[in-house]
Symmetry: C2
Subunit: 415 residues, 2 copies
């Protein structure tokens, strides 16, 4: 089945916003067995919208649109679709009630603009919007389904997942696809691919493997088109088990989590606490750890130890060590772990000190040089890394590496 995505809105064409909706929709449709033919972004322009609809409907079974459903005059999608499919705008009591409820919950009275939002085409199926005032719409013409959604990501996503995707799965005779996401950290993409090459070769021909790399993780996505989901689940589970045997220590989770969430599970299970002492990442690891709801169960606190003064005063890094070895050194990060364990009275500690750049590099310690230590009262392991030259990217690299090192430390893995 082929699908097209159309993003409507002047703000996309003038480069005011990045269209993230289309990626979300494309991924979900792709995972459900659609082939996305084209993604098209057009301005709030009636003629252009109509000509794109004419064009894409020649090739596609499904058209998903976002945008242009707001209450302002430049939002033309609703009127355009009503006319295109030959209907009329009429007040819909059900939508009006949804809108009334929505504005009431926000503490407002229904106004004329809100009321206009409840005028919808009489030739479509309405898709209710729990999170906003613009209803979704579904049309059908010459065997192509056209669905229009609001562009607010929050509203669109909820509508897509709870109403539209279930409808599409029922409506279309889609291939059955089963997926597994295996989340890894610690390999470069190329070395992971090399490590997994013989495993990849023996994969069932109906299994597709994708590498999805980022500074935070490499996601391995296995997808299997199948007649029987049960059988595919079994086959995929076996392949995941083989991966476990091959690279088990680098697998930190499944699905769509990040290292801070993997750490959360480990720490909650062990009823252990952690703290952080960060120089170049300066709070970024603490922020990531506390981005997980419920992190107060294991995270006590952290120090952004940006100046040497703070390293000495709070983390008890001796001035002589700072002078002799420099702030970016094994000796300093080791002491930063010791100092924080005492200061915060935690079970585990993370310490990072590096040269994030763009300045501060030397021939011996170029920009990107970063020492990371993790440990507990009995043992501290420090490692040196050389990341790149870009400041913000270095902070991301160092933060992920530090969390992964702590994960491996606690679980007794190599790193």
């Amino acid at each position: 089945m082929k699908a097209d995505i159309i993003a409507i809105g002047d703000e996309i064409l003038i480069g005011q916003i990045t269209d993230t909706n289309s990626q979300f929709i494309a991924e979900k449709l792709n995972l459900s067995g659609f082939e996305i033919r084209q993604i098209t972004s057009v301005a709030d322009d009636k003629n252009h919208i109509v000509s794109v609809l004419d064009e894409v409907s020649k090739y596609t079974d499904l058209v998903l649109m976002t945008g242009g459903l707001g209450p302002t005059e430049d939002d033309l999608t609703k009127q355009t679709l009503t006319d295109y499919f030959g209907g009329n705008l009429v007040l819909n009591e059900e939508v009006l009630e949804d809108v009334r409820q929505f504005v009431k919950n926000k503490g407002f009275e229904l106004n004329e603009r809100n009321r206009k939002q409840a005028e919808v085409p009489d030739n479509c199926k309405i898709i209710r919007n729990k999170n906003g005032t613009a209803a979704g719409m579904r049309f059908e013409k010459n065997n192509t389904i056209f669905i229009s959604m609001p562009a607010v990501p929050f509203e669109m996503k909820e509508m897509f997942e709870t109403s539209i995707l279930p409808f599409l799965k029922e409506k279309f005779n889609l291939p059955k696809i089963v997926h597994r996401n295996v989340l890894t950290y610690g390999f470069f993409e190329s070395s992971l691919a090399e490590k997994l090459s013989s495993w990849e070769e023996q994969l069932h021909p109906k299994i597709k493997l994708a590498y999805l790399p980022s500074p935070e993780r490499i996601r391995l996505r296995l997808s299997m088109i199948c007649d029987s989901e049960e059988k595919a689940e079994k086959i995929l589970d076996e392949e995941v088990q083989k991966l476990q045997n091959l690279i088990g220590e680098s697998i930190f989770g499944y699905g769509d989590i990040f290292l801070q969430e993997a750490l959360a599970e480990i720490l909650k299970e062990k009823k252990a606490t952690i703290s952080t002492a960060e120089s170049c990442t300066s709070g970024n690891i603490a922020r990531l750890i506390t981005s997980v709801p419920g992190s107060s169960a294991y995270f006590k606190g952290g120090i952004a130890a940006y100046s040497n003064e703070v390293k000495t005063a709070l983390l008890k890094v001796p001035e002589e060590i700072l002078e002799k070895h420099g702030a970016v050194s094994r000796e300093v990060v080791e002491q930063m772990v010791k100092g924080q364990l005492e200061l915060f009275n935690t079970d585990y500690g993370i310490a990072v000190s590096g040269i994030a750049g763009p300045d501060g590099g030397t021939p011996e310690k170029p920009v990107g040089t970063t020492w990371i230590a993790v440990g507990n009262k009995n043992k501290i392991i420090a490692r040196k890394y050389t990341f790149g030259t870009r400041r913000l990217l270095n902070v991301r690299f160092a933060s992920s590496k530090a969390m992964d090192n702590l994960r491996r430390f606690i679980l007794g893995y190599d790193f």
Copy 2:
């Protein structure tokens, strides 16, 4: 002048990545006076690429393409364009030298794949790539210009800004446009629009005003199409001056900076130092402040005071106060400022304590309730805010608000 953007790559169509390149290109082209007609994303599929080129070239003066220039087999753009414009691939010595230099700098030897990157169409103008191995290409057909760039954002951006944009400005008879970006913080978009409504009405009809809101700032963009840039500069400067008179205290800068960069300028000028003590934002403000290169000149350090224990032990928040008023209270954030000024020996301090959610709210202190204090040894000002229900968004709101409050505190403005 009309322009089309085409993003080529399977990874976009299957939703593996968000296409951020197109927004970058769209904004730059728009600011230079092009009207972006359409943005189209297609897979690495020769026939589809060709049919889109046929289609868009009916309407447009300029086609900018990204993607499909890599060395792997699924990258088809170079061959497709070579054929489409009727040329042949030939080894280009200049490109080969660039590629050789590039891989050498990375510490590698030139291999067969790299050498293939130096085979380019003989019917195009080559655009050199300083940051990668794929050269850009420029074709012309029936008065339409077609430009192909690599999809790696870093490579594309440099190529676009240093080579392509200057070429386009020379090639096309573009309207002269002068821009001013005024960066504000402290208003809701609607209240800012209300505040500025009479100013907006008196604007020269050739000035276009855009509101670009985010949790970090509202950017006001004034654009003026003009015959004489000098005259437009003068008119826009006058309008910016009027804005200064109307909302001067809410303007934290011009161009494309963020609050942490505005703070950097103020602190460097005053030769003052700051620290942070963060509960719910837990290091996010420290991270933002140190995202500015050179921040070690004024940022000494921070505490992620996530647990009450840490608030008491390090920031000297008395246990009685925590018990009586709770961690999210005026009394606690005030003491968090006092405590950190002593601990870090800084001139100014920022303290935040709030309920980020999703749990932890009560009827009196619902999720989103956040106390923020800023101050120095002589004076501390604490304010309460009620943000929303979404954890990560609350952290962003609180971080920006805290930095803006410190900016206003130092400059003696109201907040």
